[in-house]
């Protein structure tokens, strides 16, 4: 089974002190460390696990500049067979829609049985990409998938719903599946594993090769326009409890009792 995995490079904001960019439409990304979107790691692992069972080929692809190459190389170290970097200066400023457009153009040029991706990206949390990509390709889609079973020409997937519910779908191939974290345990990628795939060439594919109009990509092709990015204003009723841990705990218990949080 040939599987193409779409991945995204995102800034690690977990331990960073975030500040708003001068333009007011983005955060300052200068000092941030970047890594693969965590959800996409699970997508690559799932693709490699399926390949190990059924044979075939795994391709990793992203829309991004040369800085994204390291992430793709890590995808190769995880067991993917080839990787592509889709980049053109005109791609700058793509939103989920424009990105889906670029990747749809890439996918239409290739044969595949399954497209995997993470359900969300850790940076903007749009969650639109998988669905839009499937619509553009005209293939079925399933999101938040936490289990995939491969049948002959189709797959059975389980989707994670709220309140612990699970939904089972039988889907014809080709299809787009966006996975949930926890679908597997992504393998550890050692420095040596990355070094071992150092000689594999990662081709860059530009807009011309994808046959895309400048108007369909980048900020020109984006459907979402960000007006303003700002830190949430301090809300009413928020209280920071000061004092020793013992005092703070006592105060917290008091509040919880007061507000009816505990009986």
């Amino acid at each position: 089974m040939d599987i193409i995995v779409c991945v995204k490079r995102v800034p690690d904001t977990s331990e960073a002190d975030l500040a708003i960019d001068k333009g007011g439409k983005d955060i300052q990304k200068g000092g941030l460390d970047y890594d693969i979107n965590d959800w996409d790691r699970f997508a690559i692992e799932e693709a490699v696990l399926i390949k190990e069972k059924t044979g075939g080929k795994v391709t990793v692809v992203t829309v991004g500049d040369e800085d994204a190459e390291e992430m793709l190389r890590e995808g190769l170290a995880r067991g993917a067979d080839e990787a592509f970097l889709l980049w053109d200066e005109s791609f700058e400023g793509s939103d989920g829609y424009a990105t889906a457009h670029i990747l749809a153009a890439f996918l239409k040029q290739r044969s595949y049985d399954l497209v995997l991706t993470g359900t969300l990206a850790d940076d903007d949390c749009g969650g639109q990409f998988g669905g839009m990509l499937a619509a553009m390709l005209g293939v079925p889609v399933a999101t938040l998938v936490h289990k995939i079973e491969v049948k002959n020409g189709s797959i059975t997937v389980r989707r994670e719903l709220e309140a612990g519910l699970s939904e089972r779908l039988d889907i014809d191939l080709p299809a787009v599946v966006s996975v949930a974290t926890g679908i597997n345990e992504p393998r550890f990628v050692s420095i040596r594993a990355v070094r071992k795939v150092a000689s594999i060439e990662i081709p860059t594919v530009d807009r011309g090769e994808l046959g895309l109009d400048e108007a369909d990509v980048g900020s020109a092709g984006a459907k979402v326009e960000i007006e303003k990015v700002f830190l949430p204003p301090e809300g009413e009723g928020a209280e920071i409890i000061a004092g020793s841990p013992a005092d703070a705990a006592a105060r917290l218990a008091e509040i919880l009792k007061e507000k009816g949080g505990i009986a």
Binding site: D12, E15, R187, S190, A193
Partner: protein, 679 residues
């Protein structure tokens, strides 16, 4: 009256010397062949340079091999073993003599005549009786008292019966000797009496009522039985767990000399990154010394008895690694049939499971305890290297390692903030050394001291002490990277090379007299693993020196009469032999009441490990190691646990809370304690 000697009595019409020659030749031939097969495997596996520093090795062999110096760590069993070993050495002359007596009735070894020969005869007779008594006690001990450390864990076939076989055979050797000599005594050959020949006399007493013809049969039969048992025993050794009788002393001679360090991925290879495979996945990827270790394990269980992982219920039992590996050898490299193809399944992950491999904290208690210096840490690290290459790594450890890869620390913090902790110091400006700067002392803070809020307190205390001492010092700040001690021990060699080379580069770009670290893990890795050597000191050693030189003086009453105990960190004590300096510092603290825990010094009990191991979650353990340790402190009534390692501090502080000892026991780092007493 004398009896006919065995050499003079034909057996089934064949002259005795011919029988003796046939038995000797057959036995030697079989033994040589078996040994050859065993040595063939040693030659087939990977190289390991163990011929350096011959003088030191001979000394080890004398002290720990012939001298059995580690045996008394288990007093009862140790004394029994020393007696058996002494008997073995003394009676080896007797055995050679007896073999010779098959050829000639008057045979004796050179110089063994006259009064020397007589004295030896007397000595030998006492030793025979002693060995017999020890064997009986050993069998009773095993059968009746069943010491827990002899029990096997896991799925091994068990080798308990082998102990009885060997003890039985040794007893049989003694008894046949007593029959051989006793029958002669009973006939009246000797008149010197029971005081000189107690074993023979005892034998004679049992045979006292026998007729002379029975005695002559017993004399010859006792002799041949002795010879047959002797050669059977000799040939049983290399096919059983008693191979150590032959291999133990060589194993001590070839012991690892660079304690604290980890072996390279492969000896004799310049660029391990170019290797097809890395680490030990297949059995044949162990080094010959590691296979010799497997041959040599006597299954005494002392390693596992002291293993903290085994103690708290993790899947690891170090000796089972040796036992299972030797079972694997005996099965796949049999003596009398062709080598078996290795199974489809690799050794690592199947024979030794992943749970066993990740359960180890590399504390070194097992290696410290082994009477014959069997190594475990290097093997476990080699197996981890293989697993890491396969992408296997406990989930809880992946994140911290990824963070180190991206940011140079497991805390996920930005490296530009590495010196941030110094801002909270009042009145002290800690110098962040830039490339080209020079100072006296380079304080290596490491990630934990830079980013962990609790450990930052130790960093601050140490900066205050350094400041007070008047020593010029500085830190690397943003140019510092995680020291990498655990990274290497978790098998991620590539990442270790990455972080160590960054630190080495930072060291080389600055001038200093020495590096100091309060984290023993950092101290250890810089001292024993970094490919470029720098003078490095642990904070406890520096504090001892400062006090000695009068650079700092201590005053105050922080402890207020509380009972103190000292917890030896594994990477300070066992791996680097620093036991006395921390205690010397404690001795200088006014009003110190120190009491040692039952497990201290070389027998200290690991608190569950440092570096990224702080994040490691183990599903099998029933209790945290730190909790076990805090209970040991509570047992002796300690109210303060002083340690000299930030990770011990964190683990023990947590354990004080979870064992309900909060408010009763305080955990404090030696550096912090000294800071409290700065005059």
């Amino acid at each position: 009256m004398t009896l006919l000697e065995p050499a003079d009595v034909p057996l089934a019409g064949i002259s005795a010397p011919i029988v003796a020659a046939a038995v000797l030749l057959a036995a030697i031939a079989i033994f040589s062949y078996v040994m050859l097969r065993r040595i063939q495997l040693l030659r087939a596996v990977l190289p390991d340079p163990r011929f350096s520093e011959i003088g030191r090795r001979i000394w080890l062999a004398i002290v720990y091999g012939f001298g059995q110096a580690r045996q008394p760590r288990y007093l009862g069993a140790g004394i029994m073993h020393i007696l058996l070993f002494a008997g073995f050495v003394i009676l080896s002359l007797r055995s050679l003599t007896l073999i010779g007596r098959g050829f000639s009735s008057g045979f004796h070894l050179p110089l063994m005549t006259g009064s020397v020969g007589f004295a030896y005869e007397v000595l030998k007779d006492y030793v025979v009786l002693m060995v017999l008594v020890v064997c009986i006690v050993a069998m009773v001990r095993r059968a009746v008292f069943k010491p827990a450390r002899y029990q096997h864990t896991g799925t091994s076939k068990g080798h308990g019966a082998e102990a009885y076989v060997i003890l039985g055979m040794v007893s049989a050797l003694m008894i046949t000797d007593m029959i051989y000599d006793g029958s002669a005594l009973a006939v009246g050959g000797h008149t010197s009496g029971a005081a000189l020949f107690p074993a023979a006399s005892l034998g004679a007493a049992f045979m006292g009522a026998a007729s002379q013809s029975t005695l002559s049969v017993l004399h010859v039969a006792g002799y041949w039985a002795h010879i047959l048992v002797f050669f059977t025993l000799l040939n049983y050794l290399p096919i059983s767990k008693h191979f150590h009788v032959i291999t133990a002393i060589p194993n001590v001679f070839f012991a690892k000399l660079n304690k604290g360090g980890i072996k390279p991925v492969r000896w004799g290879v310049d660029d391990w990154m170019e290797l097809e495979e890395c680490g030990v996945g297949r059995f044949e990827q162990f080094t010959w010394k590691h296979v010799l270790d497997f041959y040599s394990c006597a299954d005494c269980g002392r390693c596992s008895d002291n293993c903290p992982a085994a103690t708290v219920g993790r899947a690891l039992s170090p000796r089972m690694i040796s036992i299972k590996a030797r079972d694997y050898v005996y099965e796949h490299y049999p003596v009398f049939s062709a080598n078996k193809d290795p199974d489809d399944k690799p050794f690592t992950g199947n024979i030794v499971t992943e749970q066993e491999i990740w359960a180890c904290t590399t504390c070194g208690a097992c290696e410290q305890e082994c009477p014959i210096f069997i190594e475990y840490i290097d093997k476990i690290v080699d197996m981890r290297r293989y697993l890491v290459e396969q992408g296997e790594m406990p989930v809880s450890l992946q994140k911290p390692l990824q963070q180190i890869k991206k940011k140079g620390n497991a805390y996920g913090a930005t490296k530009t903030k590495r010196a941030e902790w110094t801002k909270a110091l009042e009145g002290i400006q800690v110098k962040e050394l830039q490339p080209g700067d020079a100072t006296d002392t380079l304080f290596f803070v490491d990630s934990c001291g830079s980013f962990d809020p609790r450990i930052q307190e130790i960093s601050k205390s140490f900066a205050r002490i350094l400041h007070r001492s008047g020593v010029e010092f500085g830190i690397l700040g943003k140019d510092e990277t995680d020291s990498g001690n655990e990274i290497r021990r978790l098998g991620e060699e590539g990442l270790f090379e990455q972080v160590s080379s960054k630190n080495i580069e930072a060291f080389q770009a600055r001038e200093f007299r020495e590096i100091v670290a309060f984290d023993p893990h950092a101290f250890n890795v810089i001292r024993n693993d970094y490919p470029v050597k720098f003078p490095v000191t642990h904070a406890s050693q520096m504090l001892a020196r400062f006090l000695e030189q009068g650079r700092i003086t201590l005053k105050g009453n922080y402890l207020a009469g509380r009972l103190v105990t000292y917890h030896d960190p594994c990477y300070l004590g066992r791996h680097n032999g620093v036991y006395n300096e921390p205690r010397a510092v404690l001795g200088r603290i006014p009003g110190m009441h120190l009491r040692e825990m039952h497990r201290s010094f070389t027998r200290s009990f690991c608190c569950s490990g440092g570096g990224p191991l702080l994040w490691y979650e183990n599903e099998e353990e029933k209790e945290r190691m730190g909790e076990r340790r805090v209970k040991m402190a509570a047992e002796i009534g300690a109210q303060v646990i002083v340690t000299a390692c930030p990770f011990c501090l964190i683990n023990l502080e947590d354990a004080v809370k979870t064992t309900g000892n909060e408010g009763k026991i305080e955990v404090i780092d030696l550096v912090e304690l000294v800071d409290r007493y700065l005059a």
